[in-house]
Subunit: 248 residues, 2 copies
């Protein structure tokens, strides 16, 4: 009972941090960066942080912890698997549109793509996410996928899922840091430099801290053994003969 | 048996990545950034990445996985606790000297300290690490520390330890990204811009990828239930009455 109360406190924190991250990235880009457009200008770039934080971090993290909600444990797993796949698909689509925004912006300015460490980490996160979604769809949702394949795939799927979350958080932290250095140079009229910590810098830094805190809470929820859906716990996976059917 | 073979493969990978990270950051700063000094110049700054990667990431990660080595399980835990504390202390000292290098460099140039997101994440990692070391020393090594306190502290110590590792990796990725943008501007004679991916950029980006891979392997080793020292596994922690002594 105590464990379930602590879970719901963590889950509430996860939801509050989700809202805080999305609000913070939207306010930053609408109020301080001039808003949004899809015309190859800096306003198009502004979609990039908003969509990556919303898709690759917030929706992704929320979809990852879905099976941990004790309220879902008494039900058939299939609708929750469909919801997990659907939210992940939405997260993936937002991330891909977020990448298109920055590629288009770079191409319009003839700036090369994919050279910075931030871009390497971010593109790895999105590419692995797309691969993970396709393999997860084929392995866990297609009825023809055999049980032994699901058992083999599951620990890889969970581990890869955590790796993608960590990549996306590292990409966000490095991206926010880079963006604030780019735009807060303090050499154009009225712009205070990043080093003077103007309100925009405080907001951007706080967004980075919120994203990190969100990732830590998601990781905590995912790694607590007692919060795993009972039919997914390691002892069921480890001690069930590989070819025996289980309530997967 | 199979689990132990996989552990040693992971551990070998962890050691190889440790060496690769240290070699990479040393080569980058000695060959491409001009080497080292302690005179307030850019050569003093070069100690910062070398000491942070070596201390806060590589030594820290290696000290964290020490108890997971099956070879140590048959022995008394105390010498391994002392080794864990000693390597962590060395990691902490290197990190603090690494911070002094950058503070001195900033002060000599009258650049403000601790304004960027990178610095917020990095200072949080080092401050929490120092706190974690002091609390760990008092809680787990002082003979007067009562058993119920050790039991209370242990999950917090493990969880905080993972959080610090994630903070330090995020700090490294954002720091390398920032440094490469700063030094590879392409506007001074003979320097190719970051966007042209000159050899230094490839080396710096590769260092970031190696650090991330190292963190992922350490996290994998820490999170595998079968690789926990038998007297530290959760069932022992959970089912032993709080005041009953155990082979801690």
């Amino acid at each position: 009972m105590r464990s379930i109360v602590i879970f719901y406190l963590c889950y509430l924190l996860c939801l509050c941090l989700s809202v805080a991250c999305v609000v913070c990235v939207c306010v930053w880009n609408s109020r301080w960066r001039g808003g949004f457009a899809w015309d190859g200008s800096a306003l198009q770039f502004n979609w990039h942080p908003v969509l990556m934080v919303t898709g690759l971090v917030v929706l992704y993290g929320n979809a990852a912890v879905l099976y941990r909600i004790p309220l879902t444990w008494g039900h058939n797993k299939l609708p929750w698997k469909l919801l997990h796949a659907a939210v992940m698909l939405l997260a993936l689509i937002l991330s891909i549109v977020g990448l298109c925004a920055v590629f288009d912006f770079h191409n319009a300015k003839s700036t090369p793509n994919l050279y910075s460490l931030h871009s390497w980490i971010g593109i790895a996160a999105t590419a692995l996410f797309a691969m993970q979604w396709v393999v997860g769809m084929g392995g866990f949702l297609l009825p023809c996928s055999p049980m032994y394949l699901r058992k083999l795939l599951k620990p890889v799927h969970v581990w890869m899922g955590i790796g993608i979350l960590l990549l996306s958080i590292a990409a966000c932290i490095s991206g926010i840091n880079e963006k604030l250095f780019f735009v807060l140079k303090g050499n154009s009229g009225g712009v205070q430099p990043y080093s003077a910590l103007p309100p925009e810098a405080l907001l951007g830094n706080s967004l980075g801290v919120l994203i990190f805190a969100f990732g830590l809470v998601v990781l905590k929820i995912l790694s607590n053994y007692e919060w795993q859906r009972p039919d997914s716990r390691p002892e069921d996976m480890a001690y069930t003969p590989v070819l025996q059917e289980e309530n997967e």
